[in-house]
């Protein structure tokens, strides 16, 4: 007896665990591939999967078998013109002679083991062990905000919420229902009255009786109220908690003369990483780009990364502008605010304390997180020293320095390392 079972609806990812095991085993190699990919990819297509190559010698599972050499006799099909005793030169592939059954498999032997990492897995590797500081906390704790949403109708409420159409529909239905028995009787009585009227005189007792009846029925019908409190329907609204899934990310970058192309490029990559990281946590992310030299200016992405402009450096100008924008457009009750600042640390000496003032008094209290990276290979200057003071007071403030392109990744990880709960 044959049993037919349709398994198509069963989960198809039976191998998912094995796939994870594979990724886990070759974690180091894959991580290296991912790291290379980050430093080589152009900014705009960073958010994609990646092809990973792992040397076959690492993935091979060794088993005992015969190596080349020795004496072996092999039967092959499709002889055309050999006769017994013929001597033929050894084919260049050597080893396995004229190729036994396994030759075609081992032919691939030297290639890498290639497979595709999905976008999610790629980012997973990239962001491994990372989470924004206090993220879970803010996400869960800030559900203080509620939104009213419509939820059908109720039979009680305040007069302003009366839904007229719905109430009138109800009233109409009620009237028709209550009228129905009288209406039918009325019709019947009227018909009888008309009929008798043809045959008898006006004051025939039956006619008078019918007249009386018709009058009684009409009164009854008219007595049905046009609208009743029973008919009233009110719009119903309920409160729903609305988690703040919105975040805004401020990118501040120094474009003064001392920031050369290479340093800008490093900063660029850092911002991209931050942006990608936030896209994984928030549905809607606003990004505000502020570039500054002696004065600050809000610009679009294109201009931020690609336009050229130089001048001196007054960092506080950017911070002031950022504060203005926050107060105007991003109330802290609705937005999670993150900021990342990149600079080479060159600031006009007298300005640095001012920067600290603005940060401590105005900006940091509104922010989830502020990351400052200094891209320099030299001694830290006044700005760094001032920022170090800030760091002592605010745990959501972090500073790091980056020496070159390759150190972005570790620094990024360091900055956003999972904080111990």
């Amino acid at each position: 007896m044959t049993q037919i079972i349709d398994r198509r609806l069963n989960g198809k990812n039976k191998s998912a665990v094995n796939r994870q095991r594979f990724l886990r085993r070759f974690r180091e190699q894959i991580r290296k591939s991912v790291s290379d990919a980050i430093s080589q990819r152009s900014i705009k297509d960073i958010d994609k999967g990646e092809t990973v190559n792992i040397p076959t010698r690492d993935t091979n599972e060794p088993i005992f078998s015969h190596g080349p050499g020795g004496r072996r006799e092999i039967v092959q099909p499709g002889n055309t013109d050999f006769v017994a005793g013929d001597k033929v030169p050894r084919p260049p592939s050597g080893g396995g002679g004229s190729g036994n059954g396994k030759a075609s498999n081992s032919g691939e032997g030297e290639d890498d083991f290639v497979f595709q990492l999905s976008r999610e897995e790629f980012l997973e590797f990239f962001f491994e062990d990372l989470a924004l500081p206090d993220l879970v906390k803010t996400q869960l704790a800030t559900i203080s905000e509620h939104k009213m949403v419509r939820a059908g109708y109720t039979t009680s409420g305040v007069p302003t919420n009366i839904n007229v159409i719905r109430s009138m529909k109800g009233a109409l239905a009620r009237r028709m229902a209550l009228r129905a028995p009288y209406q039918a009787k009325l019709k019947q009585t009227e018909a009888e009255y008309e009929e008798l009227k043809q045959l008898h005189e006006e004051n025939h007792p039956r006619l008078l009786e019918l007249q009386e009846e018709i009058h009684r029925l009409r009164t009854k019908i008219n007595a049905i109220p046009f609208i009743d409190t029973f008919d009233l329907r009110y719009n119903n609204r309920i409160k729903e908690p609305s988690p703040t899934t919105r975040a805004v990310m401020f990118c501040l970058m120094d474009v003064s003369g001392s920031m050369n192309e290479e340093r800008k490029d490093i900063a660029k990559r850092f911002f991209i990483l931050l942006y990608l990281f936030l896209t994984r946590t928030y549905k809607n992310i606003d990004v505000v780009f502020i570039r500054h030299h002696t004065t600050a200016k809000e610009v679009d992405e294109q201009e931020f990364f690609y336009s050229r402009e130089t001048g001196g450096t007054v960092v506080s100008s950017a911070l002031e502008l950022m504060y203005e924008i926050i107060s105007e457009r991003y109330p802290t009750s609705d937005w999670n605010i993150y900021a990342a600042q990149a600079s080479d640390g060159d600031n006009w000496e007298g300005d640095s304390p001012a920067c600290r003032e603005i940060l401590v008094n105005k900006i940091l209290p509104c922010l989830q997180y502020y990351a400052y990276i200094e891209i320099t290979a030299y001694e830290h200057q006044s700005l760094w020293r001032e920022y170090e003071k800030v760091k002592e007071v605010f745990p959501n403030f972090a500073i790091q320095d980056i020496a070159g392109l390759t150190s972005i990744y570790p620094v990024f990880r360091e900055l956003f390392k999972k904080q111990a709960a």
């Binding site: 349709d6 198509r8 069963n10 005992f64 015969h66 017994a84 050894r90 075609s104 595709q116």
Partner: protein, 509 residues
């Protein structure tokens, strides 16, 4: 009712006319195929046909056809590789996977046309199925009733170990066991039957018992000088042992009980798959022969349309295509071709023997083909099947020739072709080619230095001077990990001389 039976047969309406399949149609085809198969006296386990999608097929692929496998990265690797090659169009997926169990489980892909589903049902559910049930190797070495249960047990046990001892620890053991999987089979001794219940209840006892046995083996009692001298002569094990994993499971000095159990699981699964490796040509040949015969019978009965037959024949022809040795598509002898040709040839010899056949096969020439084929299916494995039934006609048809590759000579030599003096030689060479014990290096446990450093010595008996491959050192590392002490391989050359060829040392603590 005046029509004769033959004309009535011709008039029967086909089961289906389009290439779309439905579960009802599959049921109908299965019914008809079962009827015909029964007519040919195919004895099968009950069938369980499962319809799956191509993704699920890839899943099934990567767990080597085990319906429930334990988790291991190598299956993930297999999956990634299959997926990549499938996506790129470098390979198609098999139309079917069939599992030697009772009931016999066959997977059918939903993408197949009705014709392909019917072909697969005939091939897997009646061809392979009857082979699993009838062939002596499967009857002796595997237990179709218990395998699914055992796999469930294995999967649970290994998952349990992972929880308790960590994924990495378990992975280490599995890696090492997989490296030795081919050497985890008893080639001659019959294994005890598998049963989940027993496994579960006895597993704990076994752990303790084994551990005590091991300790006994390594007991270090003071032994008098004389006795020690005497003992030195005796080897442990007294006879060389071919089942390396079994030996490890029973004797490795430092293993934890759960590690021994994992070794046992891998060994049992290796044993279960061993007959499949020994009967590839026969098994595929048998299944191909029967799908061909059954579907042709149905066509003759008027149950299949011409269109169905065209599609079926096209795919059948693809399956049994054999490119010649010098073709770019050549990748060895196609087991489907060889098997199908041999099965059909046996039928021919029975039904329509030539003078040559009578000379070569006096026993079967002119006999009942159904009985002869059944006998052949039941009592042989690839090597003996070829030794018994490869006919001169087939050698001519396939134009087989034997090439000798000797590394001491500069050229290859054609030693035999399809002529009178060559038939026997070619047949002999083919037998060698399908003999698992010459295809795989002969490696056995030779000695353990129980009184000394506990090192394990294997001996590799060379066959035709063939050396071990480069991976041997890696495998040896795995073996060392399981054994816990130094492991070495002595190679025994053709002239009987011994030489230490591989060694993996473990530093004494």
């Amino acid at each position: 009712m005046s029509t004769t039976t033959t004309t009535r047969k011709k008039r029967r309406t086909p089961i289906s006319v389009t290439s779309e399949w439905t579960p009802e149609l599959i049921q109908q085809y299965d019914k008809e195929i079962a009827r015909v198969a029964e007519g040919y006296k195919l004895d099968t386990y009950p069938n369980q046909i499962e319809i799956i999608s191509s993704e699920q097929m890839m899943d099934a692929y990567s767990s080597v056809g085990m319906p429930l496998g334990y988790h291991h990265w190598s299956f993930g690797k297999q999956f990634l590789d299959t997926e990549r090659r499938y996506r790129r169009g470098q390979m198609g997926l098999a139309y079917e996977i069939v599992i030697n169990s009772n009931p016999c489980i066959a997977y059918l892909m939903e993408e197949n046309t009705m014709t392909m589903q019917a072909l697969v049902i005939a091939h897997a559910c009646y061809g392979h199925n009857s082979f699993f049930k009838g062939n002596y190797l499967f009857r002796t070495w595997t237990n179709a009733d218990a395998i699914i249960d055992y796999l469930v047990f294995a999967k649970k046990y290994i998952a349990h170990c992972e929880k308790r001892y960590g994924v990495s620890e378990v992975e280490l053991v599995l890696d090492s066991c997989h490296a030795l999987m081919n050497y985890g089979v008893d080639r001659y001794k019959r294994p005890s039957p598998l049963s989940t219940e027993e496994e579960r209840t006895r597993q704990h006892e076994r752990e303790e018992y084994l551990q005590s046995q091991v300790n006994d083996l390594w007991r270090t009692l003071p032994i008098s000088e004389k006795e020690q001298d005497k003992k030195k002569e005796a080897r442990f094990p007294t006879e060389p042992q071919e089942n390396l994993l079994y030996f490890i499971e029973k004797n490795a000095p430092l293993m934890e009980p759960w590690q021994r159990e994992i070794v046992r699981i891998v060994r049992k699964i290796a044993q279960y798959f061993y007959p499949q490796r020994q009967t590839q040509v026969m098994n595929e040949g048998w299944a191909t022969f029967w799908h061909y015969t059954i579907l042709n019978t149905l066509y003759d009965e008027g149950l299949l349309t011409d269109g169905f037959m065209m599609e079926f024949l096209q795919s059948h022809t693809n399956v049994i295509a054999q490119p010649p040795y010098n073709s770019p598509y050549f990748s060895g002898i196609n087991p489907y071709t060889l098997g199908f040709a041999m099965m059909s040839d046996i039928k021919r010899i029975c039904e329509d023997p030539t003078e040559e056949d009578r000379q070569w096969f006096p026993d079967i020439a002119g006999s009942n083909w159904l009985e002869t084929l059944d006998f052949a299916m039941r009592n042989f494995k690839d090597e003996s099947f070829i030794a018994q039934f490869l006919s001169p006609k087939l050698i001519r048809d396939l134009r087989l020739f034997a090439v000798l590759d000797d590394d001491t000579k500069n050229t290859l030599e054609i030693t035999a072709i399809h002529d009178d003096s060559g038939y026997r030689k070619i047949r002999q060479a083919m037998v060698e080619q399908y003999n698992l014990s010459t295809r795989e290096p002969n490696i056995q446990v030779y000695n353990v230095d129980i009184r000394g450093d506990r090192s394990l010595t294997l001996c590799h008996t060379q066959h035709n001077r063939k050396p071990l491959n480069d991976a041997a050192d890696e495998v040896l590392k795995h073996l060392t990990r399981l054994w816990g002490f130094t492991v070495r391989i002595d190679t025994i050359k053709g002239d009987g001389s011994r030489e230490l060829t591989h060694e993996c040392r473990v530093r004494q603590k």
